[in-house]
């Protein structure tokens, strides 16, 4: 793909060393159909824009829906795989681009020649203003100040996030085991305010505590015994501690009705998208 984009830049007459030009090439690759003549090939190579996959976009039924490999294979992904693939292409082309988070969302931030930031939203094929992101994601000012959201990440911080992904995939397969703490603590080591890692930790201790309480219930143990159970107390403290950390980072749940509205709009978009996909198939059939 990076080679493809190299040829694309040549044919467009873009400056091969210019960061904006490289990002423009990647942006066009994600949002447009590119028909490019490669030096060593007779036929031009055509790539198609990448679309949002509305089906199971949380990856709840099929975790691999979140994967970049799935995106490359099928040409559709979501707000997890699309920006990551963008970063991969940028890395291959020596371009500078950053990942940034919003609640349940990630997007790309780039800087222009004057040093001003721009947000690239790959799911809707557009750029967005910060105000737009803040409003649609219900981002609070304290979350911005603690830099859990809307902050351009360094490469190391992105790798730390990949560790989180690895841990979440692990949990999906094997459940909440001690191993995941190794991963999250590594992620936190490289990014103190790594919200995902803190959330994983919190859920880990929450589940563990529930497990302990259930055992007390099943075995008919008394509350007094629980009060003397230092290990249980430790788990409780860890759970509350991670909760306090998350609160301090400014993490806030979206108000329920706002979230519902958002889901509904996603559904509407999904229907439009389905329609577009069908159109594309039909056009393919009539040989366009």
């Amino acid at each position: 793909m990076a080679t493809h984009l190299g040829f694309y830049m040549q044919t467009q007459g873009y400056d091969p060393d210019d960061n904006s030009a490289k990002n423009l090439a990647i942006y066009n690759f994600f949002t447009d159909t590119l028909k490019v003549k490669h030096k060593d090939r007779e036929q031009p190579v055509t790539t198609y824009p990448m679309f949002y996959d509305f089906e199971d976009f949380w990856g709840r039924e099929d975790r691999s829906k979140m994967f970049v490999t799935k995106l490359i294979r099928e040409g559709t992904g979501q707000c997890h795989s699309l920006p990551l693939f963008y970063l991969i292409l940028a890395e291959e082309m020596n371009a500078v681009a950053h990942l940034a988070f919003a609640p349940n969302h990630s997007y790309i931030k780039i800087r222009d020649k004057r040093g001003d930031w721009h947000n690239i939203e790959l799911t809707t094929h557009s750029l967005t203003s910060d105000q737009y992101i803040m409003q649609t994601g219900f981002v609070t000012s304290s979350a911005i100040a603690s830099k859990i959201y809307m902050n351009p990440l360094t490469k190391k911080e992105v790798v730390a996030q990949c560790v989180n992904d690895l841990m979440m995939n692990y949990i999906r397969k094997f459940g909440n085991e001690d191993f995941i703490l190794e991963g999250t603590n590594l992620a936190i080591k490289h990014n103190q305010n790594n919200l995902t890692a803190h959330l994983i930790n919190h859920h880990y201790y929450q589940e563990l505590l529930q497990h302990i309480l259930k055992q007390y219930q099943d075995k008919g143990l008394t509350d007094k015994a629980l009060l003397q159970d230092e290990k249980a107390q430790y788990v409780y403290r860890q759970m509350m501690g991670s909760r306090a950390l998350i609160d301090n980072l400014g993490y806030a749940d979206m108000p329920a009705d706002l979230y519902e509205n958002w889901l509904r709009s996603v559904e509407d978009e999904g229907q439009k998208q389905e329609h577009r996909n069908k159109m594309r198939t039909l056009m393919g059939q009539i040989g366009n």
Binding site: Q12, D112, W117, S129, Y132, Q135, F138, S141, I144, L258
Partner: protein, 676 residues
């Protein structure tokens, strides 16, 4: 025009030797020292005291701290009296904190009842006067006292400086936290609840805007939030640093910008609150003013004319660094066009005429390659959502080149960019319900108050009515000999301020079919006792749309174990005809409850016209009544049947009563009930 208060201030100032410059400056030095010892921790920091120190220095020491405390104490007492009144329907574990926050909000924004002792052991119930916004000179440009909490306490009008200050003071006195937060030319309150997390209280409008609205309408850059320049919660010391900055600004108004005292104070402020935009700018402007003085002394025309002198060059560089620092923190001045759009919004609210808005275009990062991309914005061009569309930008009174990071040139402070000199209407961008309402999710931390106790004054022509059901003891004293209490000593009355034992006010909006009920507060004092107690009326609002159903009850808080007086207001309220023209308001149903003491119910319109719904006089004597008729479970003894058709005009004002073909004037109608 100067306010009456200012004249009062000046008059008292003159009497006490205002205008003698030396004691004045010494007073400032003393104020500085006291604030400094708070910041250093030598004395416990008190925001309440710090505000007073700053204001008193400006007033030449003529303000009375006891009086200031008395006024604050009074408001705290009234706020405290609303606690536990049962109106807040909130179930998280921080209920007590939220109730305190809510109490302060109520007492500042809405009339809140309180009781005061009158002559001859009588007790009068009054309402507090809400604090409102003073549009005139909202930034204290021509009269610095406009910013003062002492001015707010005296006149009940204030601005986005004094209102949140007073809120914070009251909250702290009541024992709950309220943080100041900064936006450009603006201060507001941030608080935390378990249910909503952080939320903003906008005292100028009484609303609770969400952060994205603050950001978009306040022209706040993302970096400014990241660097905590704006929208961050201020600590106690930071808040004290803000009052020290106020002190400096008052001082500068008296003695000029360029002064060692001002510089010393600003440096101290920045030690404790390094990212305070106001102080950073004041310091930069002070440094620039000094450089300009130097230029004037040496007859230089341009700043660069002095650079051959290493000392002057150093001064220039330090000043430049200060401005660049402010720029890097994310500070940007709002573009003039954005103000103008706001102005038009406000004008159009009153007229049909539509005017062309300035539409902001989003910058195109790939323009040089001839490609335009779609940019999604929140306001669709109505606000400027991008901050750097030019290579130069103005910070205070200098223009910076963003690329070179150097001062391009000096300008006169462009007042067009400052809110201070614009029409007062412009300030109301913080006051008005946001013009982009449909884009913004709106919420309130007190939305969960199902029995919404706030009787909203309806801006869009709806007409809310109040139905008031009260019980009162007509006797001078009542109760058995061992527990004899003062009564209300009156007959049936339509006076809203008449004293009572229990009272419920049901506010109902005839257009939205929403109702809220608020319980009253009464004072009970035993004849033998020195002091009495306040008793709450509790309300349970079980209304369903236009079918009002409110149970109000309360006992004598002064007498443990005393019986509740119960009242049930069950009324159906409907309108007949076009509500935008003359129409009929029909109220039917019953008011029932205990047959001791007396009961009365009436309805009022927005203009204050009052109509009887019914009343009941107990037949039981004062001594036996409470122990006999209240102790029994006989709460359905009284039945006041209501069936009334009121002629109402387009403005929702009561005109007369309709009885079949007969029209009865309000006066005649009410007379019937007084004769009963």
């Amino acid at each position: 025009m100067k306010s009456a208060l200012t004249i009062f201030f000046l008059a008292s100032a003159i009497l006490q030797g205002y205008g003698q410059s030396e004691p004045q400056e010494r007073r400032y030095e003393e104020a500085y020292n006291e604030l400094k010892s708070m910041l250093k921790g030598a004395v416990p920091p008190s925001f309440k005291r710090a505000v007073f120190i700053s204001e008193n220095a400006y007033m030449g020491g003529t303000l009375d701290y006891d009086d200031y405390n008395r006024k604050i104490d009074f408001l705290v007492q009234v706020s405290r009296s609303t606690l536990n009144d049962g109106v807040l329907d909130y179930s998280e574990s921080d209920f007590e904190e939220v109730e305190k926050q809510f109490a302060v909000f109520r007492v500042l924004k809405y009339p809140t009842p309180y009781v005061e002792k009158g002559e001859n052991n009588s007790f009068n119930i009054y309402s507090t006067r809400p604090f409102t916004y003073d549009f005139e000179d909202a930034f204290g440009e021509s009269d610095w006292t406009k910013m003062f909490v002492t001015k707010l306490l005296a006149t009940h009008t204030g601005n986005c400086h004094s209102l949140p200050f007073l809120y914070k003071i009251l909250a702290e006195e009541l024992g709950t936290a309220a943080h100041l937060a900064m936006a450009p030319n603006h201060t507001y309150i941030k608080q935390w609840t378990e249910q909503t997390g952080w939320f903003n209280t906008e005292l100028t409008s009484g609303q609770f805007p969400i952060d994205s609205w603050m950001m978009a309408s306040g022209y706040i850059k993302l970096e400014a939030i990241q660097n905590r320049l704006y929208m961050d919660t201020l600590s106690t010391k930071q808040s004290i640093a803000v009052t020290l900055t106020d002190l400096v600004q008052g001082y500068q108004k008296k003695f000029g910008t360029n002064d060692d005292f001002a510089l010393k104070s600003l440096n101290l402020v920045l030690d404790y609150y390094p990212q305070y935009a106001n102080a950073l700018l004041l310091k930069a402007e002070l440094m620039k003013s000094r450089y300009e003085d130097l230029m004037k002394d040496r007859g230089a025309k341009a700043p660069a004319d002095l650079w051959h002198d290493p000392q002057a060059r150093k001064h220039f560089r330090e000043m430049q660094d200060q401005y660049v620092h402010i720029y890097k923190l994310g500070y940007r001045q709002m573009p003039r066009e954005m103000y103008l759009n706001w102005l038009m919004d406000l004008e159009e609210r009153d007229t049909e005429e539509k005017r062309e808005r300035y539409t902001f275009e989003a910058p195109q990062p790939f323009e040089e390659y001839g490609q335009k991309v779609k940019v999604s914005t929140l306001s669709k061009g109505k606000y400027q959502e991008f901050f750097d569309t030019d290579t130069v930008t103005q910070i205070g009174s200098v223009v910076l080149n963003r690329i070179s990071g150097q001062i391009s040139h000096f300008v006169k402070y462009d007042t067009m960019h400052s809110e201070a000199t614009l029409e007062p209407d412009v300030i109301s961008r913080w006051l008005s319900p946001d013009p982009l309402a449909e884009e913004f999710y709106s919420w309130s931390p007190y939305n969960f108050v199902k029995n919404n106790p706030l009787r909203f004054i309806d801006p869009d022509g709806r007409y809310p009515i109040d139905i008031i059901t009260r019980s009162y003891a007509p006797f001078k004293t009542f109760g058995p000999p061992f527990a004899k209490y003062y009564g209300d000593n009156r007959g049936h009355s339509l006076d809203k301020n008449a004293s009572y034992r229990t009272s419920a006010t049901i506010n109902y909006d005839t257009e939205t079919f929403k109702s809220s009920a608020i319980g009253g507060l009464s004072y009970s004092r035993a004849v033998e006792a020195e002091k009495g107690s306040y008793s709450n009326t509790y309300v349970k609002n079980r209304s369903d749309g236009s079918n009002l159903d409110v149970h109000s009850y309360g006992n004598n808080a002064d007498l443990t174990g005393s019986w509740d007086i119960d009242q049930f207001t069950k009324l159906s309220v409907t309108t007949n005809g076009d509500i935008k023209g003359d129409h009929i308001l029909n109220i039917t149903g019953t008011i029932s409850g205990d047959d001791f003491p007396n009961q009365e119910s009436f309805v009022t319109d927005a203009d204050g016209n009052t109509l009887w719904l019914g009343n009941f006089a107990t037949s039981v004597g004062p001594a036996k009544g409470p122990t006999w008729n209240l102790a029994r479970k006989n709460e359905g003894d009284v039945h006041i049947n209501v069936n009334i058709n009121i002629n109402v005009n387009a403005d929702g004002v009561f005109q007369s009563i309709q009885r079949g073909d007969k029209t009865i004037s309000i006066e005649d109608w009410n007379k019937q009930f007084e004769q009963k």
